[in-house]
């Protein structure tokens, strides 16, 4: 530690700290543009010049390390003079167009110009003229305002791991942009909007729609992945105008993924309904709550009377809040049915009895960046949980050995020590690492571990998992979608155990952990308590049929991994209640009543992230029209069905009931069980994932997100050799058959897909007619 003085205030500072950091901690304001605590130091704007005793020239506070006895003056005449001069230089080329600039009112440059600027310009010469590049659907540009601080450039390089924006040219001719016209495609791209200290990079969807002083910021939590990023919704009147990150070092630091930031725009979709609707002989009718809820309750009651409780079920979306999931399962169980499930993207439930209380990351999110070794089984972490990918990238850049065993190769934006691509033999490849790990540990091979040949790559992975302080084996989303999830999970846990590494799960939904703890699974009640009635998982409900279904914030035609089976089950049911904000054509087809709930920023609730962290929030704005918080709808349904325990007056009453779930500790013990991998009969294998902007109804309807490159189209992605194999070389459309379903899909030749496989994404309308996820498909001419 060193002792320094800033403006006469004595301070203790860490060795090597920069003056600006010490000042920031002490709350002493030093103006700056290029410095940002999460980025490397560029020291190119010179706005932070301060006076240091015994130094003749002013020094940049962001690039001046503290020394013992240093005396800094941030407001002396010399410091102020230097700051004023720098500001004048920065402004000579600036268009001074604050009245038409979106940044106005929250612009660092504007504020500093007020603080340090003259009120008359002395600059009479010509200003530079620059063009504004089109960077895509998310970021608007007005490059005349750019002060070349390079924050946006450093962000791409250092944090997003995709260096897309650069500073080309030199001196006055420097331009920030992509140089060759291109969009900015990083999944974290819009953070540059927050970083840009001026109005050069602003939010395209928000452009010209509001002024910061008209907005009220309210906190919220993002439900689109298991991170639980903290955000701030800016509200004007009753409308959400934009979403910004809320700094939370241990979760999302200062960032938001583009998905977290722009998903709210899905709420503006034309399919959104704001009054309840019932299906009558004459067609769909908007109605009032009393009639709609009575209609829904009577329908469910009829099913109950005629077919009994075993014919009643509920499917819960994995972004629904803990309170909503809890009341849904409570309602089902109060009516005598255990048929409730939220694992709509999974097909393999063989090990459900052995599982811990909820899918747990096995560590804190922040610990990911300290991993020395990691093996991810079935994960495209970068697109599935962008902010966790960003953390893992830091570990990799620090020298962490990060390996993947995936059904297909994904491009990662960090060094990957091993990526084993195993489409047909995934289980064997993981077994090979398990064998290598057991051999290194000198442990016995447990009974039932599949035979596998151990190669160099497997040994290297196992060795990396044994060296260094912190190591982890993480089970990703792709494993959850796979029919051999049980085997993959058992072996992942086995590898972790024998290497002394953490075992963790990257849950597939934004509130998967919360749904488990709330009891939205057929075999366990709230807080993992045993249930009186064993229910059926969603897949048995879909395959064997149920007569009455309650859907909570899910669209099975896109969310379910077997979309066709799911919609058929819904159509065959006698009565379907959909609690959903959107009335899609599919929902109008299968539902009998649609009850519009408030969307995620419009109502209070709680989400549990992958660390097991409970985060409660309030609504940021009242829901539009007649839409009501889903927990209230469920409570009224409970009352109308004479169910016991639906007297909650406020969300706090619901939360009080959840206290036992809150007390459940995180645990990741997966006992070894003898796996029996499902056999694969040969033929073309479909590989599947949910693309980043197809994960839930809101994201799927966010127009700007759907215009980005990451909005993966429903198509067949296939290597040329595979096409030739099945005599379809050169075809641009093919008919794909899977299970009972078939679809006509465009072909996109992609040599990154293993031969003998096709990649067909889930979660898109185009692929909704297909019969499943991972599995055999047939292809013929269109």
């Amino acid at each position: 530690m060193v002792n320094i003085e800033i403006n006469g205030i004595k301070l203790e500072a860490r060795d090597g700290a920069m003056v600006i950091e010490v000042a920031d901690e002490a709350g002493i304001v030093i103006p700056r543009f290029c410095y940002h605590k999460k980025l490397s130091i560029a020291a190119n704007c010179r706005m932070c010049l301060v006076e240091v005793e015994k130094v003749a020239k002013p020094l940049p506070a962001c690039a001046t390390p503290v020394t013992e006895g240093m005396k800094v003056f941030t407001h002396s005449p010399k410091a102020l003079g230097a700051q004023r001069a720098v500001l004048e230089f920065l402004l000579i080329n600036h268009p001074l167009d604050c009245p038409i600039c979106d940044q106005g009112g929250e612009c660092d440059l504007q504020e500093m110009a007020i603080g340090f600027g003259g009120d008359v310009s002395r600059y009479a010469e010509g200003k530079r003229v620059v063009t504004d590049p089109d960077l895509g659907a998310l970021i608007a540009t007005d490059m005349g305002r750019c002060i070349h601080c390079t924050r946006c450039v450093r962000f791409g390089q250092e944090v997003a791991g995709m260096w897309e924006l650069g500073g080309t040219g030199r001196g006055e001719h420097t331009r920030i942009g992509t140089y060759v016209a291109d969009t900015v495609d990083s999944e974290l791209s819009a953070n540059v909007v927050d970083l840009c200290p001026v109005g050069a990079l602003t939010s395209k969807p928000y452009r010209y729609s509001g002024r910061p002083w008209e907005l009220v910021g309210r906190p919220g939590i993002s439900p689109h992945d298991c991170v639980g990023a903290n955000l701030r919704a800016d509200i004007r009147g009753k409308q959400i105008m934009r979403v910004l990150p809320q700094e939370r070092e241990e979760i999302n630091e200062t960032w938001l993924a583009d998905r977290d930031r722009f998903a709210y725009l899905g709420g503006r979709s034309a399919e959104r309904i704001t009054a309840p609707m019932v299906k009558r002989e004459t067609g769909w009718q908007a109605t009032d709550w009393d009639s709609a809820l009575t209609f829904a309750a009577e329908g469910l009651k009829r099913v109950l009377d005629v077919h009994g409780p075993s014919q009643l079920g509920a499917w819960v979306g994995d972004t629904a809040t803990v309170e909503e999931a809890y009341l849904t399962q409570k309602l089902m169980r109060a009516l005598g049915s255990g048929n409730v499930d939220h694992r709509l993207r999974q097909v393999d439930f063989r090990d459900q009895e052995q599982l811990p209380a909820f899918p747990y990351l096995g560590m804190a999110i922040a610990d990911l960046e300290r991993l020395d070794g990691a093996l991810l089984i079935g994960s495209n972490i970068r697109k599935e949980q962008p902010l966790l990918g960003q953390r893992l990238r830091k570990a990799a850049l620090r020298g962490g050995q990060i390996a993947f065993i995936n059904p297909r190769a994904y491009p990662f934006n960090f060094p990957v020590s091993q990526q084993i691509v195993a489409a047909h033999n995934w289980v064997t490849e993981v077994a090979a690492v398990a064998r290598a790990a057991l051999a290194l540990a000198g442990e016995e091979i447990p009974e039932g571990l599949p035979e596998a040949e151990v190669g160099e790559a497997h040994e290297a992975i196992a060795a990396a998992l044994r060296s260094g302080e912190q190591r982890a084996v993480l089970l990703g989303n792709l494993a959850a979608y796979h029919p051999a999830q049980t085997e993959l999970r058992a072996m992942a846990a086995l590898i972790a155990r024998s290497c002394g590494a953490h075992f963790g799960v990257l849950a597939e939904g934004g509130n998967s952990a919360g749904a488990w703890l709330a009891g939205a699974v057929p075999h366990r009640g709230m807080a993992a308590q045993p249930t009186a009635v064993m229910g059926r998982d969603w897949r048995s409900m879909a395959h064997e049929g149920v007569k009455g279904l309650l859907l909570l914030s899910t669209e099975p035609e896109s969310d379910c991994i077997e979309p066709l089976r799911a919609t058929q089950a819904l159509k065959q049911a006698d009565f379907v209640v959909a609690i959903n904000a959107f009335a899609s054509d599919a929902a109008r087809d299968y539902a009998d009543v649609i009850l519009p709930p408030a969307l995620y920023l419009e109502a209070a609730g709680t989400l549990v992230n992958c660390e097991g962290r409970w985060q409660s929030f309030e609504g940021t704005t009242p829901p539009p029209g007649e839409a009501r918080p889903a927990w209230k709808l469920l409570r009224v349904l409970g009352n109308l069905l004479n169910a016991i325990g639906f007297e909650q007056l406020s969300i706090t009453d619901v939360r009080d009931e959840l206290a036992p779930a809150l007390a459940v500790g995180a645990d990741n013990q997966i006992p070894w069980r003898v796996p029996a991998p499902p056999s694969f009969e040969g033929g073309i294998m479909r590989l599947v994932d949910y693309p980043i902007y197809s994960v839930d109804g809101l994201v799927r309807r966010s127009a700007p997100l759907q215009q980005t490159r990451d909005a993966i189209a429903g198509a067949v992605y296939v290597a040329g050799a595979t096409l030739t194999q099945v005599d379809l070389g050169g075809a641009d459309r093919v008919r794909v058959m899977q299970g009972e379903g078939e679809a006509l899909l465009p072909v996109i030749v992609d040599e990154a897909i293993p031969v003998g496989c096709v990649y067909i994404p889930a979660g898109t309308t185009a692929t909704a007619a297909l019969g499943g996820g991972f599995g055999v498909v047939e292809m013929t001419h269109a």
């Binding site: 897309e164 650069g166 500073g167 080309t168 030199r170 992509t178 140089y179 060759v180 495609d185 491009p411």
Partner: protein
């Protein structure tokens, strides 16, 4: 994917060999250090200028993001990003040369060649450009023609230099 759009087949085997020689001068994990040499080699291969495609090819060859190559190529005036004449004339107009009369040098060249700064003569023989300090202030005013420096310029010496070029 962005990082790999370049087509390295655009690099001739001779250029490859030369670039590889530069790469071997640097540690194995730092081949991007050869970027400046690679840009020069491909510029020569391409008759004096670099197209986007060639810069992308370098990016792919050296395993770096294309924008990082563009940043280097646009920073230095010795890389040309548009087709140019057989002879490249770069006149320094930075401070020392300015004080010693670079304005007259530019005026004379423009008049003699009938083109403005940044332009190429109709016969494709000369391209005239303005550059920043070339580190030859001691001989200001100066210009660089292709790889040669010419110092203490006067209209007469300029004419002689131009006349000597084919």
């Amino acid at each position: 994917m962005k990082q790999a759009r370049g087509n390295i087949d655009l690099i001739t085997p001779e250029s490859c060999a030369e670039i590889d020689r530069w790469i071997s001068n640097y540690p194995a994990d730092q081949k991007q250090s050869a970027v400046m040499a690679a840009l020069r080699i491909l510029q020569d291969q391409n008759g004096g200028w670099l197209s986007h495609e060639l810069m992308d090819a370098i990016a792919a060859y050296l395993d770096m993001p294309p924008i990082a190559v563009y940043e280097v190529a646009t920073f230095y005036s010795m890389y040309r990003l548009e087709p140019c004449g057989r002879h490249k004339i770069n006149v320094c107009t930075n401070i020392s040369c300015l004080l010693c009369g670079s304005e007259e040098v530019v005026a004379h060249l423009q008049e003699r060649l009938g083109i403005k700064l940044g332009e190429t003569t109709a016969d494709g023989k000369f391209t005239l450009s303005e550059v920043e300090c070339l580190g030859a202030c001691v001989g200001a005013p100066m210009m660089q023609v292709n790889r040669d420096y010419h110092e203490r310029l006067t209209p007469e010496t300029i004419d002689a230099i131009l006349d000597s070029l084919q």
